[in-house]
């Protein structure tokens, strides 16, 4: 679609549209990546991996537009905050895309496995939470809804708690039967990626807060990820 840039306003709204489009691509990538892992579908996994390119390109476009706006328009106050926020959000979305792509790569790696589906239920639950956070925070960004953004920010503790539980569960499976180790390691990294996606969603929530309120969030986010200090006793 050809765009004749008419005004500053039009450029600002174009930035928003690009973020929204990029967000849509990332949401789709995350959905497809997990679906390919769950269904052991190498074709869908390859599709998901390939779609990350469009996200990277979109990030570049957003960066170029934002930087050229700063250079040409020399924005102040609210406008400057908006443009800088766009840059940050695009960065987080790009990272989410990479993490989701990594989940799809693991789907390729475990595609030949025929181990029980029940192992993946925890990851499915995590993906549901991460998908909801991503959608809600993008909605919050689009509508400049600080309250909604803060809800996402607070809800990340749920995803962390779930990750702790999945982490323990997968370790238990590995101890039960060493033949599970290969599969479970991939699932463990997959779970970690999804947990990180939640963290990036909270970053975006913080950016939305900054954009709307004009000052950064001061509290520390309640951290729930305890896996870095978790040990499971060997029997």
């Amino acid at each position: 679609m050809e765009h004749t840039v008419k005004s500053y306003e039009a450029e600002l709204s174009q930035l928003d549209q690009k973020i929204s489009h990029m967000g849509g691509l990332v949401e789709q990538l995350l959905g497809n990546a997990f679906a390919s892992l769950e269904r052991r579908d190498p074709r869908l996994a390859s599709e998901a991996i390939a779609s990350d390119r469009a996200i990277d390109l979109m990030q570049k476009e957003i960066e170029e537009l934002a930087i050229s706006m700063i250079a040409r328009r020399q924005p102040m106050a609210q406008d400057l905050r908006t443009i800088v926020s766009t840059l940050k959000v695009a960065g987080d979305l790009e990272r989410i895309g990479d993490l989701a792509k990594n989940v799809a790569k693991r789907a390729l790696a475990i595609a030949p496995e025929t181990r029980p589906q029940s192992l993946i239920l925890g990851l499915r639950h995590m993906t549901e939470l991460a998908t909801a956070s991503l959608k809600n925070v993008l909605d919050a960004y689009m509508t400049r809804d600080d309250v909604k953004a803060m809800k996402v920010w607070n809800s990340d503790a749920d995803l962390d708690a779930l990750y702790n539980s999945v982490f323990r569960e997968l370790l238990t499976y590995m101890m039960e039967d060493p033949r599970n180790i290969g599969l479970c390691t991939h699932l463990l990294f997959g779970a970690k990626n999804i947990e990180r996606i939640g963290d990036h969603a909270t970053n975006i929530a913080e950016t939305v807060h900054y954009m709307v309120r004009g000052k950064p969030l001061e509290d520390d986010r309640p951290k729930g990820d305890k896996t870095s200090v978790t040990m499971i006793d060997t029997p």
């Binding site: 306003e9 929204s20 489009h21 609210q78």
Partner: protein, 435 residues
Amino acid sequence: MATALMDELRRFGRQIRLQPMLSGAVVAIAAFIVIAYLAAGFPAAIAGAIGAAAGVALVKFPASGPLDESVDGARHLPPMRRDPRVRPFRADAPWARMIDALPDPVIAVDRDHIVLHANRAALDIFPSMRIGAVIALASRSPELTETIDHVVQYQEPRSVRLHERMPVERRLDATVSSLENDGGDLSAIIIVLHDVSERERLAQMRADFIAHASHELRTPLAALRGFIETLQGAAKNDVVARERFLGIMSSEAQRMSRILDDLLSLARLEMRAHIVPTGHVDVNEVLSEVVESLEPIAAAVETTIQVDGPGDPCLVRGDRDEIVQVLVNILQNAIKYGRHGGAVTVRVSFADDERRQLRIAIADDGPGIAEAHLPRLTERFYRVDEKSSREKGGTGLGLAIVKHILARHRGKLTISSALGVGSVFTVELPVDDRE
């Protein structure tokens, strides 16, 4: 002049018929729109005549204000100095009412993806959509974005399959076509949606059902076979063992049929996940019925059930049988996994001052659930203690069913627990605010 108009209409009709992928609905709208659009520029008499000729009643669309505040979600527009994403509604759109009259979800957007109009069916599917704001608030699906851009550029209709994952998974067929005015300029992009979730889900469900059923039924089946072999061999003439084994076999068989029942009801719920329930349910009335039906089970473990509610009717929007199932499943768990001789309390209250959410908290004073398990409890076949669950006849599906029912009702379940103190399962349901 009338002849020229009819020619125009016929030409448009021919064009549309040439597009085999367009559904009947699109043809109908296109016809509506052409008539309405043309009529807008002519004296009412001619307009009426054209309408009558085509068998269509023309509705005069009022020149509306800057934003249609009556539409859900339009209430919280962000306070912004200027918002290029929100634009006044076009006062010259006589076709808006006609879109309202169509049963399929229909959305009209402009070339910048701003929603000009959407009917009730479309707003039901996308509650976050707002008239006057970008359609991305409803769906950020890249396919939809790209298809709209394509249609804006080439003005030729296109169909696309959308896959929405939040708040419920949904697959939609969208037919996107352009609407031009006399001069050939683009007036709007019309998106007609058709929900195909059910069809898609049916295939997926069959696969899931077989995978889960075969996996979960294997354990009780193995137990049954083991006992049968023992009865045929070693314990052939042992009367005491026979009685005991038959008892275990009967309870295993019962568990198998319960698993099948639960799997079936879960499958049915998944089928309807995208349909919002329409009935009224009085929670107080349902609750007293449920408690009464569970008294015998509670009495067997000397547990008392106490209900503490606001007294006056608490209406929620929902399906009665499903609300009953939610309460039965949670209360049964509270009785089964609570303390022998303990107390189960049910508190009904409003979650907020505006009385928009009803809260039902079901608490036991049992041993509690370790923190690591809490976030996992609603996953199907997740069990805190495999052995104890089996002894108590659990299927591993009770809370998964609760979660599904609540998702369909746009409600939620929160679980909190402290070891040695007890667990609280809190259900929130939207209060029925319809008159």
